[in-house]
């Protein structure tokens, strides 16, 4: 209590410079105060501030490892100005490259190149959004699907094979290849889902194992001539036919493809599924409280399996869209780190469809910008991982962000009437506020 009170007291001091005579003015002022406070508590402000902090952390890392800055630090007390100017330059270069690589490049040679970064961000975002949605569905239903990686691999594999091994008419070919991706991911997710439903096998373990199995399975496939159909020994499959590719949207020079529409459509679909459909109701119910769901007639094993099947299907679609829209050729590293990035995307998006969409855009942008930052300033792209993780950590802990920026807090936890608190204490607090979580504690069978 004391902590929050102190902050509540402290805030007006700073926002009201002079004693204000007259009631109206005072009222206006206090309104402003409350508005400011509400603003500070709204989640997007937290998001922005988290990004700021993350950039700060990244800046420290870049500086700490920059040879030039280290040199100036060597004689810091002799001429501190050098240190600051060098630091400023290094950071400015790095982050302006990050921005130019992700949004708009004002240094580019042609106007076309100037706007290309934004389209690159979208290209990167497509698989992140799709796979993020797949993971988010799991979170909302109380399941921790670590298996995005494997599901993406299977999706990409099926889509690729359909894409190059068959000759089909234009629209149909693409549709079938996408469907193949969906099916591949659904099967891979379904293995974990069915095992969990039938035997209670912990989905965390099974999906982790399936990731590795998928990796070796793909490696094996890529050595089989009947599969790759290239006539070479290289572990890379033939390129998919044009008729199966996701068509580009902006012509040559741009990689942006129709996958972005799939991502948008999938976001809307997932929203409808979770919020408006009976199946989504069941899925959310088992996520929030499987006991109550069972009592309400939900077939929990069936819903459990379906969650992982649908989540897998979305991840598979992510793999298919990535392959058919961007890569065209299947190779062992097709999934990159998409499966794991998707988990952070879903977490950052708080497992909501729109949130996941936006988080996918953000991470896609960081990725796109990271490439230019590395190319131009030599800053290792690994810094993007640090930025991503710091952002997600901070967004998950708004009080920390508020503390960093000395913002007034919401009234801290135990300030609700007793009955409300008790309800919160049981399950609500962790489930209601944090849908992502449920998988944890609930999952592995409190069998009664």
């Amino acid at each position: 209590m004391s902590e929050a009170d102190r902050k509540n007291d402290a805030a007006p001091e700073s926002s009201s410079p002079a004693p204000a005579p007259g009631g109206a003015l005072k009222e206006a002022e206090s309104r402003l105060h409350y508005a400011l406070r509400d603003l500070a508590q709204s989640s997007w402000v937290i998001t922005v501030l988290s990004i700021v902090v993350a950039l700060g952390v990244g800046a420290v890392l870049i500086l700490a490892t920059n040879a030039q800055v280290q040199d100036t630090l060597g004689y810091f007390f002799a001429r501190p100005g050098d240190f600051f100017s060098a630091s400023f330059e290094v950071i400015r270069d790095a982050y302006s490259a990050l921005f130019r690589g992700a949004v708009y490049d004002w240094q580019a040679a042609t106007p076309q190149r100037s706007i290309r970064p934004l389209t690159e961000t979208l290209v990167n975002a497509v698989p992140l959004i799709l796979a993020g949605l797949g993971i988010a569905i799991g979170f909302r239903s109380g399941m921790l699907n670590i298996g995005g990686q494997g599901q993406i691999i299977l999706g990409a594999t099926c889509a690729a094979f359909i894409g190059y091994a068959f000759q089909l008419p234009l629209g149909l070919h693409l549709l079938l290849a996408l469907m193949g991706g969906v099916l591949g991911g659904a099967i891979w997710g379904g293995i974990a889902g069915v095992l969990k439903a039938k035997t209670g096998a912990n989905e965390v373990i099974v999906t982790i194992m399936l990731n590795n199995i998928a990796l070796y399975f793909l490696a094996w496939l890529l050595r089989q001539q009947w599969f790759v159909q290239t006539g070479s020994n290289q572990p890379i499959a033939a390129p998919v036919e044009d008729s199966a590719r996701l068509f580009g949207l902006l012509g040559s020079g741009f990689r942006l493809h129709a996958g972005i529409f799939i991502a948008i459509a999938a976001t809307v679909f997932v929203w409808w599924l979770l919020e408006r459909s009976t199946l989504g109701f069941e899925m959310r119910a088992i996520g929030e409280n499987p006991e109550a769901a069972r009592t309400a007639g939900v077939n929990v094993p069936k819903a459990t399996a379906l969650v992982l099947i649908i989540g897998g299907a979305l991840c598979g679609l992510a793999g298919a869209a990535h392959l058919l829209g961007t890569e065209y050729r299947l190779a062992a590293g097709i999934a990159g780190t998409l499966g794991f990035d998707a988990i952070t995307v879903a977490l950052l998006g708080r497992s909501r469809p729109l949130g996941t969409f936006l988080a996918g855009l953000l991470f896609g942008g960081l990725r796109a910008g990271g490439v230019l930052m590395q190319a131009q300033t030599g800053t290792p792209i690994d810094i993007v991982l640090v930025l991503q993780s710091v952002i997600v950590l901070l967004i998950a802990a708004p009080p920390l962000v508020r503390a960093i920026f000395f913002l007034p807090g919401t009234d801290t936890k135990p300030k609700k009437p007793r009955h409300r608190r008790r309800a919160l204490r049981d399950t609500a607090s962790r489930r209601a506020e944090d849908p992502a979580l449920a998988g944890s504690a609930q999952g592995e069978g409190s069998q009664r």
Binding site: V53, G56, V57, V60, L61, A64, T65, N66, A67, Q68, Q70, L73, G74, Y75, F76, F77, A78, R79, D82, E89, V90, D93, G101, A108, E120, Y216, A219, R223, S232, N233, Q234, P235, I236, P239, S252, G253, T326, E327, Y328, A332, G333, I334, A335, G336, T337, L338, A368, V371, L372, Q374, A375, Q376, T377, G378, P380, I381, V390, L393, A403, I404
Partner: protein, 369 residues
């Protein structure tokens, strides 16, 4: 700056040791910033230089420190930078999705010559070459699918050198068992293993010996692989399996995972290692157990290509490293110079002759076409 951030503290703690004494003296006068690649921006390219040329390098997912071809190519570039005073740019790819963007970023950085390292970059570099006819491109360990005018492939027939290594290994082995294993079963790995297997066979045929090769069956293209290029522990235990089968010479073709093999051999004490790609005597610190290395002169090839390009003599003629042009070869025996029979050394020279003359052809379905 932001005093409460835990991660700041954490990272500060981690790098704190770096902040050496901050009380040093300022340099007398600071000239223009040196051209470290980190502080480069677009304008610097306009600064007057002896040579206005930028050479660039994009790695595959292994990164510059893979103790394999990425690192080799990187070293070649560094040598060229020193000797020709040119600008450079490099980009490490962390996954396949990075290849295209990275190559594109190089083009945007105004790279006159951009190398892609590894067959995985084949498509990305090929595409960039077609789109930017005024720029030059190089591709290491693979060929251009569409043979563009401005693209030069740098490939190596490592099977030839591995053949020699196989012969030496078979001749040197005391137990009559030698072994090899790979990281992942891909041609750039198995081509070594094919050559090695043939070399062992050659020794057996010539001398009526029965030296056994573990870990690779050229016929069925089946063998031992650690599964990736990262897990050195797996390399170590796998090597111990070979040692337990009495193998006394092991050739890992697995980048850093080979270091696990080296650790196992060092521990065992009674076996030797054959390194690949670079001269392991120089590039690793396991020199004392390295019999020899199967070298792939990527640095030289990269260097030469840059030299040609700087001189305006870039050609799309593929470079094929083989024994003849010394693009591949067997490294010196260093510490084991005395332990390898003179007879064997002579035989090796003979084999080199045979191969160069075409009398002996080292065949491998995994060799570059």
């Amino acid at each position: 700056m932001r005093p409460f951030n835990p991660k700041t503290l954490f990272s500060l703690a981690a790098v704190g040791v770096l902040a050496l004494s901050a009380c040093g003296e300022a340099p007398e006068e600071e000239p223009e910033n040196e051209n470290t690649e980190t502080a480069e921006n677009g304008e610097a390219a306009e600064a007057p230089e002896d040579v206005d040329f930028t050479a660039c390098l994009v790695s595959d997912a292994g990164g510059w420190d893979d103790q394999s071809f990425n690192e080799s190519a990187y070293n070649g570039l560094q040598n060229a930078i020193e000797d020709f005073d040119i600008d450079s740019n490099t980009a490490e790819s962390s996954s396949e999705a990075d290849f295209g963007p990275n190559v594109d970023a190089m083009v945007q950085q105004g790279c006159d010559l951009t190398f892609g390292v590894g067959f995985m970059l084949e498509d990305a570099v090929d595409e960039a070459a077609l789109a930017n006819e005024d720029l030059s491109f190089g591709l290491i360990d693979s060929t251009f699918p569409s043979d563009p005018e401005n693209g030069k492939a740098l490939v190596f027939n490592t099977a030839e050198a591995a053949y020699l290594a196989g012969y030496v290994a078979a001749a040197t082995s005391e137990t009559g068992v030698v072994a090899t294993f790979g990281g992942i079963q891909i041609p750039s790995v198995t081509v070594f293993m094919d050559g090695f297997a043939d070399g062992v066979d050659r020794y057996n045929t010539d001398n009526g010996a029965e030296v056994q090769l573990l870990g690779w069956d050229k016929e069925s293209q089946n063998g031992s692989f650690s599964g990736d290029f990262e897990d050195q522990n797996a390399g170590r235990t796998l090597t111990e399996q070979f040692l337990a089968q009495d193998a006394d010479i092991v050739m890992p073709v697995a980048g850093p995972v080979g270091l696990g093999a080296a650790a196992a051999i060092e521990d065992h004490g009674d076996a030797l290692l054959i390194w690949v790609d670079t001269d392991g005597y120089e590039s690793t610190d396991y020199g004392d157990i390295i019999l020899t290395s199967v070298m792939k002169q990527i640095p030289q090839a990269v260097y030469d290509t840059i030299e040609e390009a700087v001189a305006g003599e870039f050609s799309s003629e593929p470079y094929i490293g083989d024994l003849e042009n010394e693009g591949v070869g067997l490294a010196p025996f260093h510490d084991y110079e005395d332990e390898v029979d003179g007879e064997v050394k002579e035989k090796i020279d003979e084999l080199i002759e045979e191969i160069i003359s075409g009398e002996t052809v080292v065949e491998s379905e995994n060799a570059p076409q």
